[in-house]
């Protein structure tokens, strides 16, 4: 009990500190925060190192990639409350776009990126428009099925490599001094980090504005949201499409780093893991989701020394943690605001309306 209070206090204090800070301090804090993440690959700390795998690579995949996708899925599941069990499909669509166009056309990574995102968004809309009318768990099975279908189609179509997938995907062209090769994951990580920051920025803007409110309303009470004038289907499709865009972007980047992809990589487990990241971290809370994804991606790498029971331990940890913190590590806990200005007007209907 005592430590629970303590935890919340830390969070609230941090948030309050942030709110009270003048602009210059916020800028400084943000810059040092961001700089830290760009410098992360150079950090050689035994605590966070991964003895069985390459730390710099781990930062790109799985950690960075999971974080990105978890943020994307959080728009769908966390913000608008739609259970999507086939999120990997959009990741696959991005990756296959990169792979097919990269090997068959002269287009480079930067040119393919928007195409991949657009295709992912398009398929999001295509899937979402008819099915988002379904409620709750019916949507879950439909999305689960969609995720599997994308994989099965990739396996069954010889023209895109069938089960052998596609190899020889080109790396992005050099960017100033940064060379993209499979031997050096750092530039990829930086690109990924930049994507992520961009998306965090976008999501935060949306969340605080009209779309965020619409999603909040839809998640809490779809019927009433409609009656308050929210075009719920439109906003649900938007959530789906934006989530798809994020995963699509991730897929394009991922394919260009790993250089060869096979359909089996895009299986149900990935969707479930990303969902676990979202819930584990604290559904609906951006920072929680980021933390959750980091932990869930990082832990199996960190405990590689366990060898055989590695995944077993991971599963048990998942159960234990959910039991201990059902709302996630950093729960979405809406803080109630008290603005002293709000008390200035005398109460009981003194205000006027037009």
């Amino acid at each position: 009990m005592a430590d629970k209070k303590f935890r919340y206090n830390v969070r609230d204090h941090a948030a309050e500190y942030w709110e009270r800070s003048p602009k210059w301090r916020r800028v400084c804090l943000s810059i040092s925060f961001i700089a830290f993440f760009y410098a992360l690959p150079f950090l050689n700390n035994p605590l966070i190192n991964t003895p069985g795998s390459d730390f710099q690579s781990v930062l790109f995949y799985p950690v960075g990639m999971y974080v990105l996708m978890a943020i994307g899925l959080n728009i769908v599941v966390g913000k608008s409350g739609l259970l999507d069990l086939g999120y990997v499909a959009f990741f696959a669509i991005g990756a296959y776009t990169m792979a097919i166009l990269g090997t068959h056309t002269g287009l480079n990574f930067w040119e393919i990126l928007p195409i991949g995102i657009a295709l992912a968004m398009f398929s999001g809309a295509l899937l979402g428009t008819p099915t988002l009318r379904l409620r709750g768990d019916y949507l879950a099975i439909v999305t689960l099925g969609f995720g599997e279908i994308v994989r099965i189609v990739a396996v069954n179509i010889e023209a895109i490599g069938g089960p052998r997938g596609i190899a020889g995907i080109p790396t992005p062209p050099d960017f100033f001094n940064a060379k993209f090769t499979i031997l050096d994951p750092k530039p990829y990580y930086w690109v990924l980090l930049t994507f992520t920051l961009l998306i965090v920025w976008m999501v935060r803007r949306m969340a605080a504005r009209r779309p965020g409110r619409a999603w909040d309303a839809i998640r809490q009470d779809d019927d009433v949201a409609q009656l308050m004038g929210v075009n719920t289907l439109k906003y649900k499709v938007w959530a789906f499409v934006l989530g798809a865009a994020v995963a699509g972007a991730g897929g394009v980047l991922y394919a260009s780093q790993i250089l060869s992809i096979v359909p089996d990589q895009f299986n149900l487990n990935v969707s479930i893991l990303i969902l676990a990241c979202v819930v584990f971290g604290g559904i609906g809370n951006l920072w929680g989701v980021i933390l959750g994804a980091t932990l869930l991606a990082f832990t199996p790498e960190r405990i590689r020394f366990l060898s055989q029971p590695r995944i077993l331990v991971f599963g048990i940890a998942l159960v234990v943690m959910m039991n201990l913190r059902p709302d996630g590590i950093l729960p979405k806990k809406k803080r109630e605001h008290f603005d002293p200005n709000w008390h200035t007007v005398e109460e009981s209907g003194e205000g006027e309306i037009k």
């Binding site: 099915t131 099925g145 819930v279 559904i283």
Partner: protein
């Protein structure tokens, strides 16, 4: 596309599809029961089934059956089959109840969200699969042939095989028994009450924990039966057996209208037959795709599945 095959082998495909569907139906009952009370997909249910198959295996060993033996006959066979069936049902039921206690109960009592519980159940599922993988050295296991497989009769090109007849009939009977139990005992009402409003249900004197335990227990028993029948027909199992069957069974539950017992039974049979037909017409590789598209079609026309009651929402 090979519609001619469907035409020529129609009755055979239908019969075999029904046998597969019977197993789906029994598993999907577990999904539907748990969904019916908690409004949650029990992700660990596929592992409840998996454990049932291994228990039947162990039971056959205890009954002194060896893989290289000839099939048994007469009372000895019946006894062995029964022991295996009961072992599978018990083990699955116990697993299901434990899953509830470990993955669900605490979370529910703390008022956790559905998703948190979902992840907790996924954690249990991952752990069980991995634990069994380690125990079985990642290898599949074979189930001895206890009962000789013979063709009872041939009708219009369909070979009616004894084991599959048993599966279809037994699934129907079990389903019937379950339906009777749920509708005649107080539990059926308790389950529905808890699913609609836990607080009011307790006020009516419903012991929520007990009702939920009974639900998991019943789902587990059915999954155990499914496990036994599965292993009787297909004669092998592995740690990953639950995964593929689980998805199909869950799809069946949704197709029939999740939360509805008759729907699960019906959905199971329909999906079994559907998968067999689509495999014949479009090739087995496409069966999942086609079955899924049909599911979506059904849901778009009838958003709550074939038998589903309309989702109950307080009116505005």
């Amino acid at each position: 596309m090979d519609f001619a095959l469907l035409r020529d082998a129609f009755w055979g495909l239908t019969f075999d599809g029904l046998a597969l569907g019977a197993i789906y139906a029994l598993i999907s009952l577990g999904y539907t029961l748990v969904y019916g009370v908690l409004r949650l997909i029990n992700f660990a249910h596929s592992e409840v089934f998996m454990i049932g198959t291994f228990s039947a295996l162990v039971a056959s060993g205890i009954m002194g059956v060896k893989v290289e033996d000839d099939p048994r006959t007469g009372w000895k066979m019946v006894l062995t089959l029964l022991v295996c069936l009961i072992a599978a049902m018990l083990a699955s039921a116990i697993t299901a109840v434990l899953v509830e206690i470990i993955a669900y109960r605490r979370l529910r009592q703390r008022g956790a969200t559905k998703l948190a519980t979902l992840i907790s159940a996924i954690g249990v599922s991952i752990s069980l699969v991995e634990a069994f993988r380690i125990i079985t050295h990642s290898l599949p296991r074979e189930f001895p042939r206890i009962m000789d497989k013979t063709f009872l009769l041939s009708y219009a090109g369909a070979d009616i095989r004894n084991d599959k007849v048993i599966v279809i009939v037994a699934a129907g009977l079990m389903m019937f028994a379950l339906e009777r139990f749920i509708s005649k005992s107080r539990y059926g009402k308790g389950i529905r009450a808890v699913s609609m409003d836990e607080n009011t249900a307790t006020l009516m004197g419903v012991n929520i924990n007990k009702v939920i335990t009974v639900t998991f227990l019943a789902g587990g028993l059915m999954a155990g039966a499914a496990a036994f029948f599965y292993i009787l027909v297909y004669e092998n199992t592995s740690f990953k057996v639950g995964f593929f069957l689980g998805i199909s069974a869950f799809t069946a539950a949704v197709l029939g209208g999740i939360g509805n017992l008759k729907g699960a039974l019906f959905g199971g049979f329909v999906l079994g037959v559907l998968e067999t037909y689509t495999s014949a017409v479009f090739g087995t590789a496409w069966k999942a795709v086609i079955s899924f598209l049909i599911l979506v079609l059904v849901l778009l026309i009838k958003p709550t599945g074939l038998f589903g009651e309309s989702i109950q929402q307080a009116r505005v």
